[in-house]
Symmetry: C2
Subunit: 450 residues, 2 copies
């Protein structure tokens, strides 16, 4: 039996990052990553392999390359058991490996609803599995009516990429909530996203629930709770994911209330030699410490950097998940961090909002000038920022990270209003009109007038 | 005599922002801005009016529009005296206005060196003066050999814009330091900037000092201290600016050691009813509280937001200048915040550097993928960030503001390494490869190995 100081199970965003972090922090430790799949897709890149990237093989995490460069061992194998008393893991073909510390980065599986007809041919979910993704793409070539269930990030991004590839395809997204991306953006941003989708001739059926999938062997239609039936010779489900906790629960590790592997703020499970990070791990909110259902690659890598650094001495703490997102629809970036206004109100915060919109160049006649809007949400008493949203120019994808830093540091509206920004005619709004600062200033104005 | 609650002298970045901030914070106060110039150029936009923007009239601060929208009075007039005992100002044509609070935002003037021949025709400096700037542009049409003195931001940006307009013009920049932009970037970034300029057929004469300007009525050449003489029928000086403190010093306000109007951390001058902000005000460094010579529009607006908010009650404090810069050379963004490695070493900090370079898309075959490099400088003992530099994709213009937030909050390398970033295939590097986080992680690795 081969023995390692550290074994990591899984090689998606969390597993790869945990391994590299562990090597940075403990360069003399012997580290091995074991994974089930030969090829590991970049999780957030999957929708793009359907369109602009062209093939799942072009959207892979270069895991082996990264492991080799960092002097980390790697193996392909399906871990089916953790023997905690003997500190070893076992694969489905009987291989055993000893560990001093184990990191579970086993990820998540797509939710498949228990609806009649869900097993018909050409009903797909989005699995991190290259041959399966290739099958979706092959089916897409011949489809006439695509129905996407769920209007979250996966749903809207796949819809756009399918449109990019197939101008003649009828595409319909069915969403049970009132707006697309409603869990991430406030209403006005959702409405803007919806019109971007409609401009691309993507049908949106909002406030509609799927009841069943119709057809014989192959799916032919989707029946909605409203009674409506829509044609569909292909269905893609994008309605979320559940933590993959099989080996953890089999090993008797504590499982949390949202069915993730329970971890403390240092990413340790109920067995102090075993850590978990990424989609498989239970999460709490940065804002109130309550359970959070968020699953994001950027949360996974943050948790992995905590887990990897803490293996042999405690260096880092997980502050809880903020939730920082971005996407592009049409030519418009949509990004968000922290709580939306509605989420903050739901949680009982007294909120004040500031907004600022300006072109991302100055003067506005500079080339490539585009509008960029920033909305910030503050707690009225303390003036601490709770969240922010950006739409417009693509540099919003980095601006949201400045907002994330503000949230992380619980900066107040005054801190943000007087924070020193770099501005340039060819890169940003002017320092007078800079959206982040002006949105904070506007919120302060509103708080003064209360 | 007209009386105001607040009078602001100057309507460039500081004056406009101070006025609007004052209105946000004190909506019932009567506010007036008085300025000398009819038209106010966007200061950092001036180089672009020489090329891509096309004319100085297209690169103006829409000051009157902003004042009108915010219910702020405005006048054109040259303030020549402050009568502190009577709390009034006087213009050159004898108009008087009373104030309760006065904000001086009188800006700066370009440094003109005391060199022989500096007054010859076609030797220009960069003044915030539209007719004068138009004269430079007119001269540029006919010039054959342009010599730019000073390889700071103004120098390199003007060189590029002149090249954009005139492919046949010989352009030479003379700089007395060893590298272009040396006060803002570390050597490797400077060298990259230099090769971008050379690719555009812009000659760089580094480590060279100007001794005199040759010619009769019109300039014909530039003599360097090395003895070399270069042809030049047009010269543009871009070697810095000095605070415009005329009326302040005439009124007996205290002047600081770098010849700016002395202010406290609340932007009050030695007369508590008079505030100063922007290029005319004395500055201290965020890092060590020592005097700082930095003059930037983004510093001016920050100081204006402090001054404007503090007029009738203290709300904000100026933490000192960080220095956040960005520019674009060729198609490459160069951005910096805080101290460079060499500046930090000069100030006696024990520094550790982390660097990370990756494409700003994932996978790398996504459209518009460009490299983006991040360098972070940390104090080794505390792990607190001291500065950062970015080069590559244009979204670096916003990423530098995330770095600025980190500096502002004195975040440690661990804080940054575990900070939650938004990432997206079409907008940023992958969460595994995200440059800001990985640069922090690399620095930690180095600190561990010490």
């Amino acid at each position: 039996m081969m023995n390692y100081d550290v074994i990591i199970v899984g090689a998606s965003a969390a597993g790869v990052t945990a391994a590299i972090t562990a090597k940075y922090h403990y360069p003399n430790k012997k580290i091995m990553v074991i994974r089930k799949e030969e090829l590991v897709p970049i999780p957030c890149g999957i929708p793009y392999t359907f369109g602009i990237v062209g093939a799942p093989e072009k959207g892979l995490i270069p895991a082996d390359e990264m492991f080799k460069k960092n002097n980390i061992d790697t193996r392909i194998g399906d871990v089916i058991e953790i023997d905690r008393s003997a500190s070893k893991i076992r694969t489905d073909n009987g291989e055993e490996y000893g560990y001093k510390r184990l990191i579970l980065a086993t990820g998540s599986n797509p939710i498949v609803p228990t609806l009649s007809g869900k097993d018909k041919e050409n009903v797909f979910s989005i699995r991190k599995d290259v041959p399966y993704l290739q099958k979706i793409i092959d089916t897409l070539q011949k489809a006439k009516h695509l129905c996407i269930v769920g209007c979250g990030f996966i749903g809207v991004e796949i819809a756009e990429e399918c449109r990019r590839k197939r101008l003649d395809l009828e595409i319909t997204i069915v969403e049970m909530l009132t707006h697309c991306l409603q869990l991430v953006y406030d209403e006005e941003f959702c409405i803007k996203a919806e019109s971007t989708l409609k401009e691309q001739n993507i049908n949106l059926l909002l406030d509609e629930k799927v009841e069943s999938f119709k057809g014989d062997e192959f799916v032919k239609g989707v029946k909605l709770a409203s009674g409506r039936i829509i044609d569909a010779d292909m269905v893609i489900l994008g309605i979320g994911a559940v933590a993959n906790i099989d080996i953890a629960s089999k090993a008797g590790l504590e499982i949390g209330p949202t069915k993730g592997i329970q971890v403390n703020r240092y990413m340790q499970t109920s067995d102090p030699a075993i850590y978990a990070c990424g989609d498989c791990a239970e999460k709490v909110s940065f804002f109130d410490g309550k359970k959070s259902p968020l699953k994001l690659a950027s949360i996974a890598t943050m948790e992995a950097r905590v887990a990897g650094a803490n293996l042999f001495s405690t260096n880092r703490v997980n502050m809880g998940v903020i939730g920082v997102y971005s996407t592009v629809l049409g030519n418009c970036a949509f990004a968000a961090a922290g709580l939306t206004r509605s989420q903050a109100v739901e949680r009982g915060f007294d909120v004040v909002v500031g907004e600022s919109e300006a072109v991302n160049r100055h003067p506005g006649c500079m080339p490539d000038a585009e509008m960029m809007k920033v909305k910030l949400i503050f707690e009225a008493g303390s003036q601490v920022i709770l969240g922010g949203q950006v739409s417009g120019a693509k540099s919003g994808g980095e601006l949201i990270n400045a907002i994330s830093a503000c949230i992380h540091q619980r900066m107040t509206a005054d801190d943000i209003a007087t924070f020193q920004t770099g501005t340039h005619p060819a890169l940003t709004a002017s320092p007078i009109a800079y959206q982040l600062v002006n949105a904070a200033e506007m919120a302060i104005g509103k708080m003064k007038m209360r």
